[in-house]
Symmetry: C2
Subunit: 215 residues, 2 copies
């Protein structure tokens, strides 16, 4: 990663290649912003460039941060400082090395998508996390066949005892951050969630920029 | 589906093509068995047969039952009678028309896989739900690039208030069943979970057969 500090503009996505052992902070500059997060093993996660001649082609060895594998092994809904996060092949890909934010980080809810905003009556051109991921990966010449379930940093979707899921505003303060260490060479992708339908993004619900720092 | 009653042997998988409006029951003959369940839109979910010349190729329009989309729209962890289940494109694919079993059906935990059993020291040849899915789909000439997160019928993975996930034995009685109605032409895939590591399968933990009936 040539640049060590990067402003991820509101409603946009970006991906960063990390070597094993490198750390990165996702800084919630305004304290109100949800950041959808994905991690892909590198380089084995993707088919060779030639394979992309067939649209949607994807290496059958596709390996990425898998929330359902993390929930199984960690036996928890919400990941926190010290947790080792795993791929769908049970290999460590990230460690949560610091988390200064209060609250939880959702693992349950799909990335927002063009279709979600269409269902909500917002028209077909609404920025969305699924397209942001696709664009961020395309910038690295990559294309996943599916949108893996995102780890929604700062997103508060508390689960009530009966299993009801609520959506509430983030609890972070301006400057709160989550620090992640790569446990393998990987590509970390982020989307500053463009959601203005659910009460996902805090304050007045306006999507805002966040900072990504390699440290 | 030529046969209307099918015994799914312990530790095995099978897939059934349903037309919109058809219903199917998953019957827990012994009351102790977890059944990993997937649904794929048909026929658009898969690349044309020719595409499979490239191993792992998968139509980018791949559409399947998506637990994270269901959790978002239903705002619940556990799906129950009357719930309309959605694909990753927010299209209805199944309705839960009946459920005679007590307890919940897990939506949080990954399908067991060869790697899971290797991690648990059970060797590389342990039957597993991920391979059962692949085999069941292969019998229909299909191959998914990834194993979607399974809907784990009868599996009890209760979530404590702090977010801790427990694994306990199924609560079903012999003969309890879940009935599903196809809301689009689809392929329903099941695996009688071979797990004998976690306390997933009830009684003495021995995987057992279940019945699949088209009604």
């Amino acid at each position: 990663m040539a640049e060590r500090r990067f402003t991820l503009a509101a409603r946009t996505g970006a991906a960063f290649a990390l070597r094993k052992g490198e750390r990165l902070r996702v800084i919630n500059s305004h304290g109100t912003q949800v950041v959808d997060t994905w991690a892909f093993a590198s380089p084995g996660a993707f088919a060779s460039p030639g394979a992309f001649a067939s649209p949607g082609a994807f290496a059958s060895s596709g390996e990425y941060l898998s929330l359902e594998h993390c929930r199984e092994v960690l036996q928890k809904l919400f990941f926190e400082t010290g947790d080792l996060l795993l791929t769908n092949l049970y290999r460590p890909i990230l460690t949560v090395t610091q988390d200064t934010s209060p609250g939880r980080h959702d693992t349950l809810i799909a990335a927002c998508s063009r279709l979600m905003y269409e269902r909500a009556g917002r028209g077909p051109d609404h920025a969305n996390c699924a397209d942001n991921l696709a664009g961020a990966l395309a910038a690295h010449g990559l294309r996943p066949a599916v949108t893996p379930s995102p780890w929604n940093l700062f997103m508060q979707a508390p689960v009530e005892p009966g299993g009801h899921i609520d959506f509430v505003r983030p609890l972070a303060k301006p400057g709160d951050y989550v620090e992640l260490r790569a446990e393998m060479d990987c590509l970390l992708a982020f989307s500053a969630c463009p959601d203005d339908v659910y009460p996902t993004n805090g304050g007045d619900g306006t999507p805002r920029d966040v900072e990504i720092h390699l440290i």
